[in-house]
Symmetry: C3
Subunit: 143 residues, 3 copies
Amino acid sequence: MPHLVILYSGNLDARTDLSALCRRLADTMLAQRDEAGKAVFPPGGTRVLAYPAPHFAISDGGTAGRAAGGDGDYGFAYLNLRMGRGRSEAVQQAVGRALVAAAKAHFEPLLATMHVGVTLQVDVGAEVFDAKLSTLHPMFDKG
Amino acid sequence: MPHLVILYSGNLDARTDLSALCRRLADTMLAQRDEAGKAVFPPGGTRVLAYPAPHFAISDGGTAGRAAGGDGDYGFAYLNLRMGRGRSEAVQQAVGRALVAAAKAHFEPLLATMHVGVTLQVDVGAEVFDAKLSTLHPMFDKG
Amino acid sequence: MPHLVILYSGNLDARTDLSALCRRLADTMLAQRDEAGKAVFPPGGTRVLAYPAPHFAISDGGTAGRAAGGDGDYGFAYLNLRMGRGRSEAVQQAVGRALVAAAKAHFEPLLATMHVGVTLQVDVGAEVFDAKLSTLHPMFDKG
């Protein structure tokens, strides 16, 4: 926590660099500051993972895309951030807007050349139990 | 949104066609109508993704299956639809039932020959932030 | 349901046996008992799936790790259990603690030699629709 998980159609791997997107989104998260100027997310806890789906079905499967002069190959990426409770609504919205801007910068060339849908949703975790084992966090905590 | 994500044990890939299941479920979603006869899901926003897990553990690992005369190879598929807020409970239930019927038609031959569990759950998203970038939606909106 | 899904950075596959972790966590779940001594989870419904992410970004990408004398290669695993409604809070906490203990036993050697973060979260599902097709459950129900 915070975890950003990207689920996307596997056909995007040949068209855009998902590792670069992960890094860009992580950097965006690390740069977020709250009303008091404090980092919103702990550096040791910021993680972005991206998963290509080998099987997928999108929309009508290509009919409308071909009718519109495309090749009927659709793409899709779903960006889902799960953040902890306790941040203000203003911080949640600012984080969402910053991530959308980062996603837009990344996907703009693809959106211009392919029928692609990108969705970003931010959830606030409602977990009933939470625990960490980490040799990452302490490294940042000790400064 | 709506997104249907299928998580399944990787041993199913050799036994059933998950791409076909994705298409069948997407078509089922596209066919749903609400009380007013309107499409429940926007065509440009209907997506189904399926992910085989390379590592998994199911139930007792095979003991009961072998005792029952099977080969002890268990399978599992979890179908999780996340739909937006604002639909009636009747629509939510109708969507669930339609997807179960589609899943049943797909998995019936497998259920008859392997110890398999298939679970479908429908969630209503509780996101605090939601944004889209899309060259898919506009294609359907302009008709 | 119950489903435990593990999302992890793909670089862990070369360092630890995720299939063994899945089995250990499933066994831990199967061993849980409630206040009345009854199994918390149905044997036919206990499933653990693990997914390596081919693309990921963790924390600062390695700078602090190298400064600390490591190789800058960070790892991450997120264990997320979704269990059904209706169990007591005491049972939820006991399940969480048992899974953390199992995860700790598994990851301890890795935590000692790599900068790794492991997070476990337990959610209680808020699904609006739930259905099962199964030739696994009946095998255990008939005893």
